[in-house]
C-alpha cells in the first residue's frame, strides 16, 4: 500500500484532435494543439518548476517560476500560458532561467514563515518543493522587512499580519502562509463556480479574502474543498491534517452520499482516515467534491454508533446486548415461527440504497430464496420508482441515458423538479461550468432555486409552476413544439413508432393543452412557457435533468413519460449532450434497483412472472421462486395494519422518518411481531424494532455503488468494521442461520453471481473495475467496456414509444381549511434524514429545518421571521420556525426534512403515484399559523423515542 500520487500537468488537457510536435530539452513530444508548453513538458517527463499553475484550473501566469526559453524567440515566456506549437525548440533549464527562478523564490521566501518542521503541510508543500527544485540556499533580503508573517515587529503590531481564520469546521485559512498564487480563487470560480473568494488589495497588500473580508463560515463559501485542494502551501489546510499529520497510504473509493457517486482517495494513516481527496480520474466528478463527500465522514466514528447486536421482547423494553450468534438465532427462529403461524408471505425485507450492490443483491436473495416470497422493496419506492416505470415504458430501460461528461456538449439544459446545487452539488458545478461557456438554461420548479440566478449563471426561463402541475406544463411544452412544427421528424420516423407519434401529436395539439389554457392550473406565464419550449426544441443539443420534484407526485410516472416524449419529439436522445437524466437521490439507488430490489422484478429488471428468468435463479439457488409480485413498502405497512404481515428485515433505511404519513408507518411497524433493523445508529425506525443488528460504513467494506449514470464504481475497505462485520457478512450469517448455506468469502464473488445471472452485468468483474476504474452498464459482450450513452442506434425496446400524458389533478387539494401547498427538498450541507450529516460538523450550516413562506402569506398570518409556526395538514401537524423569503410564490411553502424533531412526514399524506405508489411528498395542502412550540405529537414522539433507545446495563458475570 502506498499513497496514490496524481500527476499535476499544470494546465488542463486540450481537447483538440489536431496533433503537433515540438522539442523540449532535446525530447520530441507530440501533443494536441492548444496544449501549454508546461503540460507538454510534463508529458515528456520534464517537470518545469511552478507555483500558480495546477491542471484543475486555467493558466494564470503570475508566479514567474515556470519560465522557459524558446529558440528564435526573445525573452523568457511563462510555459503555462505559452501554447505549444509545431516545431518549437524549448529549453527549460538555462543559466538565465536558473538565476531568474532563484531570484523569484528568494522574494517568496522572504515573506513566508520558516516553520517547515512544525507546519501541517510539511512533506506536502509545493513551496518547499520549489525552494528545493531551484536550489535556494540563501535569502539575501532577510526577513525583517515588510511582511505578512509576524504579528509584531519590535513590539509594534504589524498591520499587514492577519490572524488565522478557523471558522470553517473543516479547514483553516492562515494568511501568513499565503503566496497569493490565486489558485484557491480560481478553483472557487472555475471548478466550483461559487465565486466566494477574491483577492483583496493590490501589489504587496494582496490577500485572499472570502467575500468582503469575511470569515470563511460567514461568507458564500460552500465548503466544497476545491480551494484547499488547490492550495500549494499550508494556507488552506484540512483541520484533520493539522491534527493527525500527513497520510501514508490511500485507496480510491466512492462517496456514500448522493447519486453523483464521486470518486475519492481515502488518505490514511494506519486505519485512521486523514482526509478524503477527490480523485481526478473519477469519471463522475473529475477531481471535484462537495462538503459532504469531502469532509462529512465523521459519523463513521461517532459515539452514537451501535457496535453490538441487541434484542428486546417488546418495543417498550430497554435493549439488551447479545452476541451475534444469539441475534441471528433469534431472528431466524422468529421469522420461521411467524411464517409457520401466519403463512409464508407474512414477512419481507427492505434493501438499502446506501449499501453496496452486493449487499442489496444478498438481501433480495435472502427474501426470495430464504423467506420464499417476493416481499422485497427498497427506498427507491419513495424516490425514483416512477423513473423506472416511465423510462422503461417509453425507452425500454429503467435508467438515465447519458454520462455526466455529456453535459459538456449540451447547448440547452432543462432542469425540472431538481435543485442540483443543493442535492447534487458536484454535477451542479460541472453544469455551471458549461452554462458559463454559453449553454442556455430552463428551470421548471415552484421555487426559485439557486441556479435561476447565481454568479455568472442566469436561467433563460424560469417557469415557477404550482406544485402538482408538472404534467400539464411539460405536455404544454410539447403542444408548442408540435403545433409550431418544431419537432424532429427525421429522428421520429427513424427511431420511434410513427403512428404512435401521430396519435400523441394529435393529443398534445388539442387547444386544452395550450400554454394559455393551462395557465389557470399551473400559474405559468404562457408566453414564457412558449419561449422555453422553442428554446429547447431549437437551441441545439437539449438535455433534461430532473429530480424528485418530478417523481414524487401522484402523476410522477406520467411526468417521466412526458419528459421522455419531449426528448424523443425533439430528437434529443442517443448522442453526447442530450438525453433524459434522472438525478438519483442516494449513492446506490440505481444499483439497488438494478439488483432486483423491487418486489416484481429480478435483477436486471426482469419481471418475476417471466419463467425463463426465474428458471436461471431456481437452478442456481436450488429453490422454486414464487411467480407473483410481492408487496411494496406501503402495501407491507397496510398488510401489517391488517394483520397479515408480521416481520421485516430492514437494512439501512429509516422508513419511519423518510416515508410519508408517519403515523401510518408507526402503526404498521407497531403491528409487527419481529422488526429487525440493520443500521449504523438507533434510527427512528429502530424505536419500533425488536432486533438491532449493527451496520458498517462505506469505509469499512468492499463492494460497488452504481451512480445516476449507471456507472459501477468500486467501494474499497480502508478500515476494519467497528461493529466487526461488513453488512454483506451480516446478511450472509443471517441467511445461514436460516439454513441457506451461503459461502461468499468476498463481495467480488457476489458480483460474479450477478454477472452470471444478469445480461446487462455479464461483463462486470472486479478485475475489470480495477483496470478501467469504473464501467457503465450494460456491460457485456456487445459493450465490453460498458455503455456511456444509451439508445445510440435505436431504443432498447426497439422503437421509442410516445405515450399520451393527460394531466389529472391530485386529490390533495387546497381549500379553506388547508389553503397553502407544502413542498419539500434538501439543503447542501445535510443529507436526507440526516442520520449521517447530523452527526458531523455540517450542522453549523443547518441546525434545524425551517419553513420557507412568502412575506405575503406570513403577513396575513401575523408571522415574523424566526417565529415558531404550526403547520397542519389532513394527516397531522408539526411545528418549526419560519423563514420569510420570496423564493417561494405566495400560496406555496417549503421545508427540508433533515431533522427528526421536525417530523415533516407527519404532515405528508398517503397519496401516491398511480403506477408505482411513490408517495406524493411534493404536494401537501396545509395551513400555517403561529405556535408556542412543539406540538403534542412531537413531545409524545420525543418521549417514546427516548424510552425506546434505552440500553440495559450489562450485568457483570461475577455478581
Amino acid at each position: 500500500m502506498s499513497l496514490i500520487e496524481e500527476i499535476d500537468y499544470g494546465t488542463p488537457k486540450s481537447l483538440s484532435e489536431k496533433m503537433i510536435t515540438l522539442t523540449i530539452d532535446g525530447n520530441e513530444v507530440t501533443v494536441p494543439e492548444g496544449t501549454s508548453i508546461m503540460r507538454a513538458s510534463m508529458e515528456a517527463g520534464v517537470k518545469v518548476p511552478k507555483l500558480c499553475a495546477t491542471d484543475m484550473v486555467d493558466a494564470f501566469g503570475s508566479c514567474r517560476l515556470c519560465l522557459i526559453e524558446i529558440e528564435g524567440r526573445n525573452g523568457t515566456p511563462a510555459s503555462c500560458t505559452t501554447p505549444a506549437m509545431e516545431g518549437l525548440v524549448v529549453h527549460t533549464q538555462t543559466q538565465r532561467l536558473k538565476n531568474i527562478r532563484k531570484g523569484v523564490m528568494e522574494l517568496y521566501i522572504s515573506d513566508h514563515p520558516l516553520d517547515c518542521l512544525t507546519c501541517a503541510a510539511n512533506g506536502d508543500c509545493e513551496l518547499q518543493d520549489m525552494a528545493g527544485a531551484v536550489g535556494l540556499r540563501d535569502v539575501r533580503y532577510g526577513y525583517e522587512g515588510d511582511n505578512h508573517v509576524f504579528a509584531k515587529a519590535h513590539d509594534v503590531a504589524n498591520d499587514r499580519w492577519m490572524p488565522k481564520d478557523e471558522s470553517n469546521p473543516y479547514f483553516t485559512y492562515d494568511p501568513a502562509k499565503c503566496i497569493v498564487c490565486s489558485r484557491c480563487v480560481r478553483a472557487c470560480e472555475e471548478v466550483q463556480g461559487t465565486f466566494a473568494l477574491t483577492i483583496e488589495g493590490r501589489g504587496f497588500s494582496s490577500r485572499v479574502s472570502p467575500g468582503m473580508h469575511e470569515n470563511f463560515v460567514d461568507s458564500e463559501c460552500v465548503s466544497c474543498g476545491a480551494c484547499v485542494q488547490a492550495c500549494p502551501t499550508a494556507t488552506l489546510t484540512e483541520k484533520s491534517v493539522i491534527e493527525i499529520g500527513q497520510p501514508e497510504h490511500s485507496k480510491v473509493t466512492t462517496c456514500a452520499y448522493c447519486g453523483v457517486g464521486c470518486s475519492f482517495k481515502a488518505e490514511m494513516r494506519g486505519e485512521e482516515l486523514v482526509r478524503m481527496v477527490p480523485w481526478k480520474d473519477g469519471k463522475a466528478n473529475r477531481g471535484h467534491s462537495c462538503v459532504k463527500g469531502r469532509f462529512a465522514y465523521g459519523y463513521s466514528t461517532h459515539k452514537d454508533r451501535i457496535l453490538n447486536p441487541m434484542i428486546r421482547e417488546k418495543i417498550s423494553d430497554p435493549w439488551r446486548e447479545v452476541t451475534w450468534e444469539e441475534a441471528y438465532k433469534h431472528v431466524a427462529n422468529e421469522f420461521r415461527r411467524i411464517q409457520y403461524q401466519y403463512g409464508r408471505n407474512s414477512i419481507g425485507g427492505i434493501t438499502s440504497s446506501r449499501c453496496t450492490n452486493e449487499e442489496t443483491y444478498l438481501v433480495q436473495k435472502l427474501v426470495r430464496a430464504g423467506f420464499g416470497n417476493n416481499n422485497v422493496d427498497t427506498c427507491a419506492r419513495v424516490c425514483h420508482s416512477p423513473t423506472g416505470y416511465g423510462l422503461r415504458t417509453t425507452f425500454g430501460t429503467s435508467a438515465g441515458t447519458q454520462d455526466f461528461d455529456s453535459v459538456e456538449h449540451t447547448d440547452v439544459v432543462m432542469i425540472i423538479g431538481a435543485n442540483p446545487t443543493d442535492g447534487h452539488p458536484v454535477f451542479a458545478s460541472r453544469l455551471k461550468k458549461r452554462l458559463r461557456k454559453g449553454a442556455k438554461l430552463i428551470v421548471v420548479d415552484p421555487r426559485r432555486i439557486d441556479l435561476v440566478r447565481s454568479p455568472h449563471v442566469e436561467a433563460a426561463q424560469h417557469l415557477p409552476l404550482r406544485p402538482g402541475t408538472n404534467v400539464a406544463v411539460v405536455t404544454s411544452m410539447a403542444h408548442v413544439i408540435v403545433t409550431e412544427g418544431l419537432f424532429n421528424e427525421k429522428f421520429i420516423r427513424e427511431r420511434c413508432d410513427w403512428d404512435e407519434f401521430q396519435d400523441w401529436a394529435a393529443f398534445v395539439s388539442s387547444p386544452e393543452h395550450s400554454p394559455e389554457a393551462i395557465e389557470q392550473l399551473s400559474g405559468v406565464n404562457p408566453q414564457e412557457l412558449r419561449e422555453a419550449a422553442r428554446l429547447f426544441a431549437t437551441g441545439g443539443n437539449g438535455a433534461i435533468y430532473y429530480g424528485l420534484g418530478v417523481t414524487e407526485h401522484s402523476q410522477g410516472s406520467t411526468t417521466v413519460m412526458a419528459i421522455a416524449n419531449l426528448a424523443m419529439a425533439t430528437g434529443n436522445i442517443g448522442r453526447k449532450g442530450v438525453g433524459v437524466n434522472p438525478l438519483r437521490g442516494q449513492n446506490n439507488v440505481q444499483g439497488s434497483c438494478d439488483m432486483g430490489s423491487f418486489p416484481h422484478e429480478l435483477p436486471g429488471y426482469r419481471h418475476i412472472s417471466d419463467e425463463s428468468t426465474r428458471d436461471i435463479f431456481d437452478k442456481l439457488w436450488g429453490v422454486k421462486l414464487q411467480d407473483e409480485p410481492g408487496l411494496r413498502i406501503p402495501n407491507m405497512l397496510d398488510a401489517a395494519v391488517d394483520g397479515t404481515f408480521k416481520g421485516i428485515y430492514i437494512q439501512g433505511e429509516d422508513i419511519l422518518q423518510s416515508d410519508p404519513d408517519t403515523k401510518h408507518v408507526a402503526a404498521g411497524l407497531a403491528a409487527m411481531e419481529c422488526v429487525v433493523v440493520h443500521d449504523l445508529f438507533l434510527n427512528e425506525t429502530a424505536n419500533y424494532a425488536h432486533v438491532f443488528l449493527p451496520g458498517s460504513t462505506f469505509l469499512e467494506k468492499d463492494g460497488t455503488f452504481t451512480n445516476a449514470e449507471r456507472r459501477i464504481n468500486r467501494v474499497r475497505k480502508v478500515m476494519s468494521p467497528l461493529n466487526g462485520y461488513a453488512d454483506w457478512e451480516v446478511t450472509q450469517n443471517l441467511a445461514n442461520a436460516m439454513g441457506l448455506g451461503w459461502s461468499y468469502s468476498h463481495p467480488s464473488e457476489i458480483m460474479d453471481e450477478v454477472a452470471l445471472t444478469t445480461p446487462s452485468f455479464a461483463g462486470v468483474t472486479y478485475d475489470l473495475l480495477d483496470k478501467e476504474g469504473s464501467v457503465q452498464w450494460p456491460c457485456n459482450e456487445k459493450a465490453p467496456l460498458g455503455t456511456p450513452i444509451m439508445h445510440i442506434d435505436g431504443f432498447a425496446r426497439g422503437k421509442g414509444k410516445f405515450i399520451r400524458t393527460e394531466y389529472v389533478a391530485t386529490d390533495e387539494r387546497t381549500g379553506p381549511r388547508f389553503p397553502l401547498l407544502l413542498t419539500t427538498g434538501r439543503i447542501l450541507s445535510q443529507y436526507n434524514v440526516g442520520a449521517q450529516t447530523r452527526r458531523t460538523q455540517n450542522v453549523v450550516w443547518h441546525e434545524e429545518d425551517r419553513l420557507e413562506i412568502h412575506a405575503h402569506d406570513a403577513e396575513q398570518r401575523g408571522i415574523r421571521d424566526g417565529d415558531w409556526v404550526k403547520i397542519t395538514s389532513r394527516a397531522g401537524e408539526t411545528t418549526l420556525r419560519a423563514l420569510i423569503t420570496d423564493r417561494v410564490s405566495p400560496g406555496v411553502v417549503y421545508t427540508t426534512f433533515h431533522h427528526p424533531t421536525t417530523q415533516a412526514n407527519v404532515i405528508t399524506t398517503d397519496f401516491s403515484d398511480w403506477a408505482t405508489n411513490c408517495p406524493e411528498y411534493k404536494v401537501t395542502a396545509v395551513q400555517v399559523g403561529a405556535s408556542n412550540g412543539p406540538s403534542d405529537w412531537q413531545i409524545e414522539y420525543d418521549e417514546q423515542a427516548r424510552q425506546s433507545r434505552r440500553i440495559a446495563p450489562v450485568l457483570d458475570a461475577a455478581e
Binding site: R344, N345, R632, D642, H664
Partner: protein, 82 residues
C-alpha cells in the same frame, strides 16, 4: 382513526385501482382495458388482488367502470405455497 389520511386498506385499493384507470382512460381506447389489467397483474401482490375481488363483489364498491371491465382479465391469485 385520528385523522382523515388513515384510510382502510380496502379504501386505498379502490383508490389505487381508480388512479390506474384514470391514466388508462386517457390512452387509446383499445389499450385501456388491457392496460389496467396488466398493470394490476404486474404490480399487485396476490393478497391485494384477493381483496380486490372481494371488494368487487360488493355493490357500490366505488370502482371506476374501466376497472370493473378490466377485472375479468385480472388474474385470480392461487394458493400460497406452504
Amino acid at each position: 382513526m385520528d385523522s382523515e389520511s388513515h384510510k382502510s386498506t380496502a379504501t386505498k385499493l379502490v383508490y389505487m385501482a381508480n388512479q390506474i384507470a384514470a391514466f388508462f382512460h386517457t390512452q387509446p381506447k383499445d389499450e385501456a382495458v388491457a392496460g389496467v389489467a396488466d398493470h394490476i397483474n404486474h404490480f399487485w401482490e396476490p393478497r391485494m388482488r384477493e381483496q380486490f375481488f372481494a371488494i368487487l363483489e360488493q355493490e357500490d364498491n366505488g370502482f371506476d367502470p374501466l376497472v370493473v371491465e378490466a377485472a375479468k382479465h385480472i388474474r385470480k391469485p392461487g394458493p400460497v405455497p406452504a
